[in-house]
């Protein structure tokens, strides 16, 4: 798994690549926590367009961060969901508490 983090207006934009499973879960959790601490961003935008796989261990990391963000009144948004990833997010119900946007720009303009 590769990741890239950027703060854009009031959101932390995280671009992930690869497969998100138990192997990378701890490192991803630590990276997201550190980035949220540093940036003090309100919203979390996850660009998953290069993520080919995610399972419940990976999803757990994302949902943990959602809790933190939503406590501060922020929102969770996704960009670039491939079919396999979309399906897992749907099954888990995550899509009911988050929004999906066609691009990062769109996500950022709607999350003000």
């Amino acid at each position: 798994m590769d990741s890239e983090v950027e703060v854009r207006s009031n959101a932390l934009v995280v671009r992930l690549a690869g497969e998100i499973d138990i192997k990378v879960a701890d490192a991803l959790r630590a990276e997201l926590e550190t980035s949220l601490d540093r940036s003090r961003a309100r919203h979390l935008v996850l660009n998953l367009d290069r993520v080919s796989f995610i399972d419940s261990s990976g999803l757990g990391v994302i949902l943990g961060r959602y809790k933190r963000v939503s406590v501060q009144g922020g929102k969770l948004a996704f960009v670039g969901l491939r079919p396999a990833v979309q399906r897992v997010l749907e099954l888990s119900g995550v899509l009911r508490i988050s929004e999906v946007f066609p691009s990062e720009d769109e996500a950022l303009s709607r999350l003000q």
Partner: protein, 148 residues
């Protein structure tokens, strides 16, 4: 039922091997005529079952063995994931969506397996281990869109 092909694999209970198991069983299953989304389902189910064996069955101890037996028949893929770890006291409760014995986990592993596969059976005995038997029928489902 005639076996078209059969694969057994055994590997150490470390997180690196979850991806290995996923890839191998997916490549094996691709010898049948599954759709891309069906292969994604199989990857998802293997990932959950193998992760469970490592995290729950062996509680993260790396020197144990996870075993997979995968069989192809004209009807589809049967795959068994098993560990000789701590086992499950109450399988029915464990399989409930949202139930987890580990606070930071989601408790969605078994319900994902059930969504991804056509049949899931769990045999477990405390202190003995757990065996998850799954079946994915061939030519049953369309792609994601047609399921909704």
């Amino acid at each position: 039922m005639k076996y078209i092909n059969q694969l057994r694999m055994e590997f150490m209970s470390i997180p690196d091997n979850v991806g290995l198991a996923r890839l191998t069983v997916a490549a094996f299953a691709s010898q049948l005529d599954y759709t891309v989304s069906e292969i994604d389902d199989i990857k998802g189910a293997i990932s959950e079952a193998v992760s469970n064996a490592i995290i729950h069955g062996y509680e993260g101890r790396p020197e144990n063995t996870v075993r997979i037996v995968a069989s192809l028949t004209t009807r589809g893929l049967e795959v068994i994931v098993e560990d000789t770890g701590k086992g499950i006291e109450n399988v029915k409760e464990a399989m409930l969506s949202g139930y987890s014995s580990v606070p930071e986990r989601l408790g969605l592993g078994f319900s994902f397996m059930q969504s991804f596969m056509d049949e899931v059976a769990v045999l477990s005995e405390p202190m003995k281990g757990t065996r998850v038997i799954m079946f994915k029928q061939l030519g049953r489902r369309g792609d994601y869109a047609s399921e909704n």
